[in-house]
Amino acid sequence: MNKLWLIIKREYFTRVKNKMFILTTLLTPLAFALYLFVVMGISDYQSDDLRRVAVLDKENILNGLSDESNVNFKFENASLGELKETYKEKNYDAIMVIPPIKNIQDTRLTVFYYSDGALGLDMRFMIEKKLQKSIRKYKIKALSLDAKQLEALDTKVSINPEPIDDTKADVSPMAAGVGAAIGGMMGFIMYIAVFIYGMMVMKSVMEEKTSRIVEVMISSVKPFQLLMGKIIGVGAVGLTQLTIWAILIPGIAFLMQIFFGFDMSGSEDLSTAGAEIDPDDMQAMVAQVTTEIKALNWWAIFPLFLFYFLGGYFLYASMFAAVGSAIGDDLGQGNSLTMPITIPVIMAFVIMVVVIRAPYSSLATWSSIFPLFSPIIMPARLAFSPPWWEILLSMVVLVATCVFFVWLSARIYRVGILMYGKKISFKEIGKWLFYKG
């Protein structure tokens, strides 16, 4: 036991003290912050280039055009020819000509924009949208339609889910969305964790085999101790890294909101992107989302997430170790042997994406119990409060499978680490299971 502890300590500290590790752990949240900064900053960014546009609207279709912070519209009465001569003196950057609308039923209209410089996409979309609005108003008037009646045509429907059983807590409309988001996030974290840390274990096993240190180690400790020490040590590294990120990333996001005043709820960007969301609605949505998040049973979800993280990690890490012990020097064989491990992980991720949209389907039920998928899928379902017996069954199956796979992998590992030069196929690895100690 003492030796196991020594190995765990070494595996943990050599990685945690490593400069690259520290750098990656601290830089990833910073990179995330930078990303937020850039995205938020840019979406708020509007060219400070002030454009002054002369508008020729002979038929007075637009009935005026409001200014934006970076565009001034001024209606002129001159002819196009004259303006083309004099626009510079008059300090204009461009001339926009609104043609007469010959056929009101025509759903297309081409407006000419004369300028020296190019018209940026941002500006273009903005102007097009403004024109659309104004022309709509014009057409309503021209066709003598009742504007109010037209507005009444579009009804925004929102479904409010209610439990049949009156005693159950009310479910807000946002529950599904929030559940999907949280679930997807947890599933994604599991997916990444299995790959990053599982591969870390495999790489370590391969290095020990290539550098031949494994022979020296095996004369002092049992292969099983070395294997478990390594898996546990790397697992601890993973937990450390994820914990640091779990604290830093939201922390930085929060700080950015305070310091840079990024107003996440009322971003201009959303409205100009065409999502017709009323700012008030937006506020309400955010409030609901926050309540939803708070309402989730975090006392249950957190430990369960931890459980599945450990279960999934041990399951896959031991498989990666077994494969690593078989490969050793020959990196070329690597791909064909690691593929069978990575396929279930990828499948699980794909299924998860479907499951979070239909969390109560039979696919969801069975895939969250099947041990190769459950570490990724059950965490994704947790936000939807699946039945407790399903969770229990899933946990039991996972533990049993974990133990079995660790045992299996240990048998392969103890033969593989001392085996050099043989061509490694699955058949060969299968034989190793039966080698005596």
């Binding site: 020594l6 550098s211 031949r212 240190i213 494994v214 020296v216 002092s220 100690g437």
Partner: protein, 298 residues
Amino acid sequence: MNILSLKNVVKKYQHHLAVDEVSFDMPEGCIFGLLGPNGAGKTSIIRIITSITRADSGTVYLNGEPLNSKHPAQIGYMPEERGLYKKMEVGEHIMYLAQLRGLAKADAKREVDYWLEKFEIKDWWNKKVEELSKGMQQKIQFISTVIHRPKLLILDEPFSGLDPINANLIKDEIYEMKKKGVSIIFSTHRMEQVEKICEHIVLINQGKNVLEGTVKEVKNQYKENKFEFKYEGTLPDNFNEHGNIVQESPGEVVIQLNPDESSNDFLKYLINNNTRINSFNEILPTLNEVFIRKVKSI
């Protein structure tokens, strides 16, 4: 008292019989050569002694007791293919290996200091292993093999890759260990090293024990009655009737005497015939020759 005894040890890997009813005894406190060509089964035998693998049948006795879980701590094994964790620092690395062999942290520190000072490499404590040359790394490997003061040391090709200076250093250490009473198994297929260092040997070929004994016994077993002498003057005319001339050059002759001829008689014969003898000695076969003869005969 034998420190190590193997009795009918068998090890089979799938279809390959690596160790075939091998038995031998190793006296305590000697330098013991475990010899044989590549693939003979030496490493398999060593792995059984060090409890890395288990014999299919037969018994290994260490200090009179069948192999048990306490024994690995009394053995120091330096494999032929030996490595170190490249990114670890020297001091930390040896401490790690020492503790894995059962030393308490304080004891390990003391021993590591002792050895680094002995080899005059104290300032390497914080160096990363990958910064060292191969010879330097082998010194580290040697230290980590002996740091827990094992009673039985097993060195598999300890000199491979070493320059003469470092090879000498290790050789001196081996002798020093022997003086302290450590029993040492020296496994190699380099016979010229064996002759200089080993007292007892066992020759393994194709998984079997084909030859065993002290170096002297083995050489005597395979001697061919060859003698070399240096002379001045003339040789008696019919001296070549006394045996086969293996080599002849002015002033020197190597002759394989006839079976019935004793060396004393031949010497008397030469002297009586007024040949001036400057030196006369028996040529024993080298272990290399014995090895080749023995291995080829199977």
